[in-house]
Symmetry: C2
Subunit: 558 residues, 2 copies
């Protein structure tokens, strides 16, 4: 039994969080959060005040280092342990969050010659200004019949590496030229700790169209995008792609001092937040769908085979757990829809009643929604308030309510929204299961599952599958720490594989949510209705949602 520790650092959109974990049992001994000093830069650049256009979202790479220098010493101090007791460190990051660096691995934005140019900074995952490039990538790839498209549900996102790199070339060729490499922020932060930038199989696979056997798309494809891109993958995207859990290197003496750790501590290659959560709930084998549930849902699943599944966001070998194909799917809005409803559609009397009962509006709605039987409200919704990510891959789809009457109450509409997102997940499950990628049980982590019992019961009833809930509130950070322990290896008191680490360190809550047969029967009927509307509005029978959006855009220009 190891008495050592590892640290996981979870880099979110607004802050970074370090969690110190005991390797023997996964206990989370201490945690500390450091908000990013510059937050999300979506209005102007620091110092110069350069004004950013709509859809831009940048970050300051120095903020990431500040997290290491602040939160790591803080958890060490809180736990009262010695540097040599920490044998490994891993991180998880938002993705694709990317930046251009020079030959020395320094961000171009640190160079005064470039710092006034917005393209020298970190482009955050939700930087959406490369949509034109993404559209062209998809158009040209489809025309050429590029096989890689099917691995991404037929669509490369504007959030991903190639679109963002191309935008730099189009709008700031001098930055493109000056960049020695484009790297994921995850890989860059790891490089800052080890002195050597390597790429990880997760972000390379899911965000940079990299494939373990086939590598990147062909130079010919890139040449057709733009002749100047022909050598992109051999130059600015060059570098080894290592499987998750690989040791990227040892902590440099300089960084060890700034972080209060021991020089040489094993540093794992980077990872993505939701993906790191998978082993942290104990999932290291096929058949178990992990749902990272928050404002949206990211669905992750392992399989021994590479299959084509309608609308998946990506399938990547070694992308989640080495040795397996990792599948990702997603719903683009879940908690966001519930929040919209609470903000924009809950009447004053309900807000007042919640206040008097001393609960939040969410809790008040859940309480009364929980008193309804499935189907009792007569209300059904399509959960497309932010488009549909899986399986339709269509951002132009919109939300729908049907079954409204003069007697319809807010908690009935709220329950219909919970159910609609569950139907959306069932649709994804059926797409996987029907394509030969089995889904037997569900695991839930993230912000929603631990505080929304009704939601979890509805998901169990709608999918007719048992749901296990993560015990940790910081599942991605726990997963990152586990990969840190694997990078250190058993000989150092860690683990040789993520499977072993998961056996010891991963935890789910004792209580699980089991489907209630009577509810399952009603939800089968309601799902059939959801499904019919899903296909009618989503597969071309009636493109009213797209036409309304087109009319809306025309009206906005008048």
């Amino acid at each position: 039994m190891s008495s050592k520790f590892a640290i996981g650092v979870d880099y979110g959109t607004e802050s970074g969080r370090a969690v110190l974990v005991r390797l023997s049992d996964g206990a989370e001994i201490a945690e500390h959060v450091t908000p990013y000093r510059h937050g999300v830069m979506d209005e102007k650049l620091p110092v110069s005040g350069y004004k950013l256009e709509l859809d831009w979202a940048l970050q300051h790479p120095t903020d990431y280092i500040e997290v290491l220098e602040t939160s790591v010493p803080a958890v060490m101090k809180a736990a009262g342990i010695q540097p040599d007791e920490v044998i490994g460190l891993g991180i998880d990051f938002t993705a694709c969050t990317m930046l251009p660096v020079d030959e020395a691995g320094r961000p171009l934005c640190w160079d005064q010659a470039f710092s006034d140019n917005p393209h020298s900074w970190v482009k955050l995952w939700k930087h959406h200004a490369a949509q034109d490039e993404a559209n062209l990538i998809n158009e040209i790839a489809a025309r050429r019949g590029e096989q890689f498209l099917v691995r991404y549900g037929g669509k490369i996102s504007s959030e991903w590496m190639i679109a963002k790199a191309w935008q730099i070339l189009n709008e700031a060729p001098e930055i493109y030229t000056a960049a020695d490499k484009f790297v994921e922020a995850a890989d860059w932060v790891i490089g800052q700790m080890t002195g050597n930038i390597v790429r990880n199989s997760c972000t390379a696979g899911y965000k940079s169209i990299w494939h373990k056997q086939e590598g990147y798309p062909s130079a010919d494809f890139f040449k057709e995008l733009d002749p100047r891109l022909e050598q992109l993958t051999e130059t600015k995207l060059r570098g080894d792609v290592l499987p998750l859990g690989t040791k990227a290197g040892g902590l440099t003496a300089a960084m060890a001092e700034r972080m209060g750790l021991k020089a040489g501590t094993a540093i794992a290659v980077g990872n993505v937040d939701a993906h790191a959560a998978v082993p942290a709930v104990g999932v290291v084998t096929p058949g178990k769908l992990v749902m990272a549930m928050g404002t949206s849902i990211c669905h992750l699943l392992l399989s021994s085979e590479e299959k084509t599944v309608e609308g998946m966001c990506g399938v990547v070998e070694d992308g989640i757990v080495p040795g397996y194909f990792g599948y990702e799917a997603g719903q683009s809005a879940v908690g966001d829809i519930f929040a919209w409803f609470v903000d924009e559609s809950v009447p004053a009397y309900a807000a007042e009643a919640a206040k008097q009962e001393g609960v939040s509006v969410h809790e008040w709605l859940e309480k009364y929604a929980a008193e309804l039987k499935p189907g009792e409200s007569g209300v059904l919704a399509l959960d497309w308030w932010n488009g549909n990510r899986s399986v339709l891959v269509d951002t132009d789809l919109t939300g729908l309510f049907v079954g409204l009457t003069l007697l319809t109450k807010p908690h009935e509409m709220y329950r219909a929204l919970l159910e609609a997102t569950a139907f959306g997940t069932r649709k994804i499950i059926e797409a996987f299961h029907g394509s030969g990628v089995a889904v037997e049980e569900l695991y839930a982590c993230g912000g929603l599952p631990q505080k929304n019992r009704l939601l979890m019961q509805i998901y169990a009833d709608v999918t007719n599958r048992e749901i296990k809930i993560a015990a940790s509130k910081q599942t991605p950070a726990l997963g990152a720490a586990m990969f840190g322990a694997v990078a250190a290896g058993a000989s150092a008191g860690g683990y040789d594989t993520i499977v072993e680490a998961a056996q010891r360190m991963a935890r789910v809550q004792e209580e699980t949510f089991k489907p209630i047969p009577a509810n399952v029967a009603v939800y089968n009927k309601l799902y059939a209705e959801y499904n019919a509307l899903h296909d009618y509005f989503g597969r071309g029978a009636n493109d009213v949602m797209k036409r309304l959006k087109a009319i809306k855009e025309q009206a906005g220009m008048l």
Copy 2:
């Protein structure tokens, strides 16, 4: 130029209102309201306290007389005129509001032998407990291929005379036997003033399946409903049916004294509220659709021909203006939907903002909705919160929103609801127009038009027709007074026809709402989308609304 006056009495659901009108120009000199002492009796009977079942709605006939004794003297006093200056009186009533009377025309509920029996009382228009009888009427009529069905859009309502009379037979045969006649409350009140009950062509036609040429349905049909009903129309529904504007008789000396009028004053036959409003806005010829707009909309239209129009509520010769076929259609919820939205779907921040701006929530929503261009919200609705009355005639249809996003705001959804009801009216207009019953312009009266400018502009834009707004706030009462003047005749200082009365007395506001071409163009596109959804959900392609309702009912029984 006549210097005489007439009185119109408008009998609503909760109260009666007398309006004293100058015949020379239709000026409303005085008005007075008397709330019904017993209101709507939907829980228990007076005196005995007998508990009523769900869906019952009764009234006390004495309350109607109290209106005459209270409000008529009040307007006379307020106007300071002499009894001989009032030459005629007309009334309009909710319908079908019916009661059983004995040989003397006395309500059976006035007889102590029957007053404990709820079936002896007035059944108000919204008494909905005769649904089983209505279902059987429709089933049997359809099976027999009864031609009268097409005059009523294929459906006889549970609110109407035959269903209510049959319910009395089924549940209280002793009341049925004791009843000498079943009469509309409108006809009964007139009978109380003249000493002689006659029936009017409006309620007989729209509510009792009476036809000027064909009379009532055959004895054979009634026999098939129930052998005991075979003689219904020759016995308990017997009596002359007189066209609107006919003098039912002169005011009896006894009633003249109680009302403060002159004995012998001309009393017109009864009428229905929305129907009386038609000449009161000056409509006495074909092509002009009158919309009585409130919680719902009643659409009324004249034509020289009897046509079959999909989903109309009724077509009756002399039913609105003598000499024409009067067509009725309707939307079962309009203002009710807006009220639902304000009550159940407007967030606390909007209610708070309205308060701070010193306006009602309705006004606040209208203000911001008015700033939107047509189509700018991207939201579309189907206005079926209370089913669809015309043209689908289906109470099982429900409301729908499509086009919702995380950025959708309450005033956008509100505008979509206003537009949806306008699309519903356009659907009715197209049904008439397309069946050869021309609709050239629109007239609006009732509670909504005078205070909702945005709503009126949307109706003009959606229907591409000019809309004139009633000048009177009491259009039905004004119409009733006009019919009173016609009952008196020109020789007495009144008018010989309702056309002449309308020329002198009817008024609309100077300002009209004219379609704005740019808006019309966008609404043509949005209406095409409404229409596609209307047919998809309403004509059997996807009966999801009915299935959701069935699931709801099953869930409610668990």
